[in-house]
């Protein structure tokens, strides 16, 4: 389970400080498919990266499966990213001079690759339909194929959590559909929690969790914006950011804390 408690994040942009997140609270149950939606610059990607321990919040707590990412040591964060989290990016971000297979094995490169790991990577690439592209380099693959390699790389470690930042942002709609099919299939197969940042609400289904972010805060379904809460156990907002503007149903797994 992921629990985000009153998380603030500010960073410097040139000469000024930008508050990307302003008191975010949410909870995502294990094994759910969750979307973070909202306008550009609202803080979606910042929240996603914080969930992946790619940065630390300025304030607040993030608990993933009971582990506090904020107080975690640098070494533990590395371990967390290496073993428990998979990332998928909008620009695929494959390593250009590695083959598809080697890209999938990137997490294991520093410690050496075992035969089992290689076998598993090959199997995953087969599952995403790239069995005849194992030795191809990124420039020899289409965008959709590159993203499938990125998905295989994200799940090769059998992670607790997969974080995807606009995974179909650079793909046409047909390829985007295929990518989401694969993501949903992977999520069902591995029972992994999937958190996706997207602008494209076409891929959200009624069973998905939706967290709408606006101006660094969680927005209410009716458009109201929750203020940050200082308490991890504050009153729950019954509604959530619906995928199509409808109210969220209880039990969908996302809890929105009422702001102070």
């Amino acid at each position: 389970m992921i629990e985000v408690v009153n998380v603030w994040k500010s960073y410097r942009s040139g000469t000024r400080w930008v508050e990307a997140l302003r008191g975010i609270n949410c909870r995502i149950e294990r094994g759910r498919f969750a979307f973070i939606v909202g306008p550009s610059g609202s803080g979606k990607s910042t929240l996603l990266y914080l969930l992946g321990a790619l940065d630390r919040p300025s304030n607040g707590e993030i608990l993933v499966n009971g582990q506090n990412l904020v107080t975690m040591s640098e070494a533990m964060q590395n371990l967390y990213r290496r073993e428990q989290v998979g990332f998928i990016f909008q620009s695929f971000n494959l390593i250009s001079n590695l083959s598809a297979l080697e890209n999938v094995l990137v997490p294991s490169l520093p410690r050496g690759i075992t035969a089992d790991q290689r076998e598993r990577a090959v199997e995953l690439l087969k599952q995403v339909g790239l069995e005849d592209r194992l030795d191809h380099h990124p420039y020899q693959l289409s965008g959709g194929e590159q993203q499938r390699v990125a998905i295989a790389r994200a799940v090769v470690k059998q992670p607790l959590l997969v974080l995807a930042d606009e995974p179909t942002g650079e793909l046409d709609s047909k390829t985007g559909d295929e990518i989401y099919k694969i993501l949903r299939s992977m999520q069902a197969t591995f029972q992994t929690t999937l958190v996706v940042v997207t602008h494209d609400r076409r891929f959200i289904t009624p069973d998905d969790l939706v967290l709408e972010i606006q101006d660094g805060q969680v927005a209410h379904p009716n458009g109201a914006i929750s203020a940050g809460s200082s308490s991890a156990h504050g009153p729950k907002a019954e509604g959530s950011a619906g995928f199509n503007g409808e109210g969220d149903s209880p039990g969908r797994g996302v809890s929105l804390k009422a702001g102070e």
Binding site: T46, D55, R82, S91, I95, N97, L98, L109, P110
Partner: protein
């Protein structure tokens, strides 16, 4: 990770090649300078290995050519304990040979001014005393590789000389052929007959024209009661250093140089020369390191996203540091190999044109030093860019790199 680092270098071939050139040129410079140093060591070492005894000359002069000693010193030395043989000598730079003086010989030589430094030198020997030596250099060289005969008692007072094969070549006859046994050689407008031709293989020794001591005094205008040096042999070959000390103690104002001492002094001198060379080439090496830093900084700045992605996949700061440092170390290794190959080719070509007996030497230890130095430079040059890349916050790396 090593394969990955290697491939990263090959991914940007033009930049890698330019960086290689930037680093291999200083390495080539280092190799070139040290090959000269090695050449000098080999030349002197080869020469000294042929001489066993103690050379007694006046104190504070660099060589027998500039030394004068009283003739009576030879008798004093004979009386010292541990002395087996004493052989007085007169030394001097040959005056004009075949009508050519020293400067003219240098200017007219096809080898250019370099030949000024391998001018023929006259060694006038007390023949009787020298025949008593066990370790005389020139008779042995003549016997092993030369032709004709060495000087004997019948040559005393006669214009007979023994020359090296090099001198025979350097002063050919009118038809342009090297001088041979029985030919004459005009020294200071007087004709001398060549009775023997030797070859030591050392170009410091192969410049000597050997003749009787009285004949040499006449050619060099040397005073009757003076000699240049005395070659002393010890009864026990292991006691040369002790014998030198005894001679110097008994005769203030003279310098008794055992070959061990000469070797040690020369080694010390070359050590100082090497330090000077190292200081000189350090500047070039620093430029090389700056070049590597520049190249690696450009490379890492372009790859912020890649480092961010690697960090998202669990790579630690140390892993990134290792990756980038490995890349620059590989760059250093390549540059070292290129520099060494260029140095081997360069010295081979240069040796075809260099006269004066110096043979530029690139030995395996110098090659090893060149490559090691280059790897160290590459590694040092990569440390800062590697540290900078490793310190990036993954999120920032991806964000900065994406824009």
């Amino acid at each position: 990770m090593g394969v990955f680092a290697w491939r990263n270098l090959l991914t940007r071939p033009l930049r890698t090649v330019l960086a290689l050139i930037g680093l291999s040129v200083p390495i080539l410079g280092v190799m070139g300078l040290f090959s000269v140093s090695n050449g000098l060591r080999d030349l002197v070492g080869e020469t000294l290995s042929q001489i066993e005894g103690v050379m007694v000359i006046r104190e504070n002069v660099p060589s027998p050519v500039f030394s004068t000693l009283p003739v009576s010193l030879a008798d004093d030395l004979r009386r010292l304990p541990g002395v087996r043989a004493v052989a007085p000598e007169v030394w001097g730079i040959a005056p004009n040979i075949e009508g050519r003086g020293m400067l003219v010989r240098g200017l007219m030589s096809k080898k250019g001014m370099g030949s000024v430094f391998d001018q023929p030198v006259i060694s006038g020997q007390d023949i009787a005393a020298h025949m008593n030596l066990n370790s005389a250099v020139f008779p042995r060289a003549l016997k092993e590789k030369g032709e004709g005969r060495f000087l004997t008692l019948e040559d005393i007072g006669k214009p007979n000389i023994v020359i090296s094969r090099k001198i025979a070549r350097d002063f050919p006859d009118r038809q342009g052929n090297p001088r041979k046994l029985g030919d004459g050689l005009r020294i200071a407008d007087k004709n001398y007959t060549i009775v023997g031709i030797y070859e030591t293989g050392s170009l410091l020794l192969d410049v000597v024209i050997v003749m009787d001591i009285e004949t040499a005094r006449s050619v060099l205008n040397f005073a009757k009661d003076s000699i240049s040096s005395i070659y002393v042999e010890a009864k026990n070959p292991g006691e040369y250093d002790a014998l030198s000390a005894t001679i110097e103690k008994a005769n203030p104002g003279v310098d008794a140089r055992s070959m061990n001492e000469v070797k040690a002094n020369f080694g010390s001198l070359m050590g100082q020369v090497d330090k000077l060379l190292m200081m000189t080439v350090s500047l070039a090496l620093i430029v090389g390191i700056v070049g590597i830093i520049n190249t690696m900084l450009m490379s890492t700045t372009e790859r912020f996203v890649e480092f961010g992605v690697l960090r998202t996949n669990g790579w630690s700061e140390a892993n990134i540091l290792t990756l980038v440092t490995l890349e620059s170390a590989f760059l250093g290794l390549l540059a070292g190999i290129v520099g060494c190959v260029l140095a081997l080719i360069g010295t081979s070509v240069a040796n075809q044109f260099i006269s004066g007996g110096v043979h530029l030497g690139v030995n395996p230890s110098l090659l090893g030093m060149g490559i090691s130095l280059s790897v160290v430079m590459g590694t040092l040059g990569g440390l800062y860019p590697a540290w900078r890349a490793a310190r990036l916050v993954p999120m920032e790396a991806i964000r900065i790199g994406s824009h």
